[in-house]
């Protein structure tokens, strides 16, 4: 039995290697094509021309199935995308599709698969990703879907902030599906009652620290449950404290390369204070769902995370909004909606470009946006959605999206930084801010990124 195991492992290993070698070969072939010399601008021009042709003439459908990749494999995401596929089959039964998940945390494997296939000139027809600056790395490899946006009227019916983020090199090359909000402070109602904390009072860092102290002294619960297993989480915590205590301007000034080092140091020190003095000991070995479980179980008072955490509350029996758990904006960010987007991007030179356009149009329709986001826990980007069709918590976020004026983009989720910049930020955090926590050194490295 043992030797069988060995054989299987070794065989698996060498099989994988062979496959990789083959892929490398493909990459070489791709390089010979004329595509390479087009560059970014040339690529976008070509796309524009292609688009015009499609709009005027008769679109020809290829026989190939439309292949779309996404990373939603866990609980809510899988249910949401399952519903999406069901609706696509109902509405476009004639369009053959191959919509499939590439699993892994935070799009990690999805992005790697997309990168490999784009480099090998074998792109999928669509893939889920973050727009904004993250999309820039794909510049020159995406097709324009301006035609879809205009024909379907999305240039009017989709939220202006999402419209802007979906564009690259003067054309729409992606379509937004939903938005998560980042500046959330979730709390366990009964723990806060026991501690004697009024959630409405949590409007500043000092008030937040007072609340954490109150929980610490008056209850057995952990004041704030955290995960620091990945550097993205620490980066996200830092951004929340930065926005909550220093404000949007210093944050965006830093992203623009004009940052105030002292502001960063202050924000990092505050983040450090909360992580070191008020959070759970096992934060470095647990994932965010495990951290969130502590709040659900009543073992922790607060949790800050993007509102995908809300999906876990909804899936817990007898754990209701405002009765068992509550929500306030992260202290100091009451007037902000920290902005995140999930988009589908559309590569050029795919096997089924016309079907991909049908899919793009489908993604922007009202019903799809409502049904997908109700299950996913994010909110639709259509401005004309009837609030009563959404759950109470999501509707509250929609109202904020429509009424607030400050939309600082999320850094840890790629809207505010290119892939290179985000990686450099995570390097800075991984080196100096994952225990032991060195605010000065982290600030120096973070300052040098932008």
């Amino acid at each position: 039995m043992g030797s069988l195991g060995v054989g299987a492992l070794v065989a698996g290993c060498s099989g994988g290697d062979g496959g990789d070698g083959g892929d490398g070969g493909d990459g070489g072939d791709g390089g010979d094509g004329g595509d390479g010399t087009d560059g970014t601008d040339g690529g976008s021009d070509g796309d524009g021309g292609m688009d015009g042709g499609d709009g005027g003439g008769t679109p020809t459908m290829t026989d190939n199935a439309m292949e779309a990749l996404h990373g939603w494999t866990g609980g809510d995401g899988a249910a949401a995308v399952g519903r999406l596929v069901e609706m696509f089959e109902e509405q476009h039964s004639d369009v053959e599709h191959d919509i499939k998940p590439i699993g892994g945390d935070a799009n990690e494997n999805l992005n790697a698969t997309v990168a490999r296939r784009l480099a090998n000139r074998n792109p999928p027809d669509a893939f889920a990703s973050w727009p904004g600056k993250t999309m820039e790395q794909y510049g020159g490899r995406l097709m324009s879907i301006d035609g879809v946006w205009e024909e379907a009227g999305y240039t009017d019916s989709i939220h202006p902030k999402a419209r802007e983020a979906s564009r690259l090199n003067d054309a729409y090359r992606s379509i937004p599906l939903g938005s998560h909000r980042l500046n959330n402070l979730f709390y366990n109602v009964s723990v806060l009652e026991e501690a004697g904390v009024d959630p409405e009072s949590l409007t500043s860092y000092d008030a937040f620290i007072d609340a954490l102290d109150a929980v610490d002294q008056n209850t057995d619960a952990i004041p704030i449950t955290m995960t620091t297993r990945g550097s993205w989480a620490n980066l996200q915590y830092f951004v929340e404290f930065m926005l909550g205590t220093e404000g949007q301007e210093p944050y965006e000034a830093w992203l623009d390369g004009d940052g105030d080092r002292e502001a960063l140091v202050r924000a990092l020190d505050r983040t450090k204070n909360v992580i070191e003095n008020y959070s759970n000991n096992d934060k470095s070995s647990i994932s965010f769902p495990e951290a969130n479980d502590k709040l659900i179980a009543g073992d922790a008072a607060f949790f800050t995370m993007g509102n995908w955490a809300y999906g876990m509350y909804r899936n817990t029996d007898n754990f209701e909004f405002n009765e068992n758990w509550g929500w306030v904006p992260f202290p100091g960010t009451e007037d902000m909606y920290v902005w995140h987007l999930d988009n589908f991007l559309f590569p050029r030179d795919g096997n089924a470009p016309q079907k991909a356009r049908v899919f793009a149009e489908f993604l922007g329709t009202k019903d799809v946006q409502v049904e997908f986001n109700n299950l996913k826990g994010s909110i639709p980007l259509r401005t004309d959605v009837d609030g009563s069709r959404l759950t109470e918590f999501l509707n509250l976020n929609v109202e904020d999206l429509n009424n607030l004026e400050k939309f600082p983009p999320t850094l840890a989720h790629g809207l505010a930084a290119t892939a290179d910049e985000l990686s450099a930020c995570k390097d800075a955090i991984a080196s100096n801010f994952m225990g032991p926590y060195d605010a000065e050194a982290t600030a120096d490295e973070l300052m040098s990124v932008f």
Binding site: S14, D20, G31, A112, G140, R229, D282, S285, A419, S423
Partner: protein
């Protein structure tokens, strides 16, 4: 074919003797084992050669270019090939950090696993009770996927309720933050890997031990050698070929620690204390599309593995075990 026959008929006029010699040689060659077995070994050989050495060669070639991003393929024109990427790696502090971790992992994991495996094999070879059962218990972790063992060890190392800290707490030690403390995390990962693979080393050594005839034990006993001395002087020196195969496979597993780390932390960016060249390479390639730079890191990784195993292979070669 036709052309060569023409040549033959022409040359026949010149010298028939030399021609007959040539024909005989061809005939002998076509009947040789080499030629007759050619269709059987050449196909697997070329597939393996292309897959493994072709892959290594192509990777090395890419590492000499400036290939990055999606828009242009690698440029292999001679003027473009240089060692720039290698210069960059030397100046990159992350390469040094991860290189150091990789080196420590390779050395400590391989050595401790082999020593432990040998010790277990000798114990089992002494004919202790429940031998088969114990053998299975030690070998079982090897049959488990990294995905399972990584999550399992993550729970074991939990600072609050992990089994390791509970056990240490019982004797008044700790609690230690195995995963969160940058100075402990590499050791924790190596320990988990040793747990998984010492059973493999044990089986390889055990097979070697059991192929040694009992006469040698008896002869040593008659000569008055102690058990320890018998193993040290007579038995272990005969396990060279077992130890070569164990060492090579273990080094390969150490390089595959990437899978373990990825399963443990759910991402390519693992805590800095346990970040290895393999994770850095994947980040550079698939997150940042720095293909050439990642290829250079891959080459360094290959050379490092060869450097670790080479002195050992050389020694064994001289001893005639290879």
């Amino acid at each position: 074919m036709a052309g060569s026959q023409d040549t033959v008929s022409e040359s026949q006029n010149v010298g028939t003797g030399a021609e007959r010699d040539w024909q005989t040689r061809l005939e002998v060659f076509s009947k040789s084992d080499f030629a007759r077995s050619f269709p059987y070994w050449f196909i697997p050989f070329s597939i393996m050669g292309l897959g493994v050495y072709g892959g290594i060669g192509y990777n090395t070639l890419i590492s000499l270019t400036d290939y990055e991003g999606f828009n242009e393929g690698p440029d292999f024109s001679p003027g473009n090939l240089d060692l720039e990427m290698y210069v960059q790696t030397v100046n990159d502090p992350w390469v040094w950090t991860t290189g150091k971790n990789t080196f420590v992992l390779l050395i400590v994991f391989t050595t401790v696993t082999m020593v432990l495996g040998l010790f277990l094999a000798v114990m089992l070879d002494r004919g202790i009770r429940y031998k088969e059962k114990i053998q299975t218990v030690y070998l079982l972790p090897m049959a488990l996927s990294f995905v399972v063992t990584a999550q399992f060890w993550l729970w074991m190392y939990n600072v609050n309720n992990g089994l390791i800290n509970l056990l240490l707490g019982a004797v008044g030690l700790g609690p230690y933050n195995w995963i969160g403390d940058p100075s402990l995390v590499l050791g924790a990962v190596i320990f988990a890997l040793i747990w998984q693979f010492s059973g493999y080393a044990m089986v390889v050594f055990l097979a070697g031990l059991q192929s040694i005839p009992d006469d040698q034990f008896e002869a040593a006993q008659v000569d008055g050698a102690s058990v320890l001395r018998t193993y040290w002087r007579v038995i272990i020196p005969q396990l060279k070929s077992s130890s070569v195969s164990a060492a090579v496979v273990l080094v390969i597993f150490a390089l595959k620690a990437f899978t373990f780390l990825f399963s443990m932390f759910g991402q390519y960016r693992v805590p800095k204390g346990t970040d290895i060249l393999a994770t850095l390479m994947v980040r550079e390639a698939f997150k940042l599309q720095n293909w050439a730079y990642a290829a250079a890191i891959a080459t360094i990784l290959l050379l490092m593995a060869l450097a670790v195993i080479a002195p050992y292979l050389h020694y064994q070669h001289k001893q005639g075990s290879l």
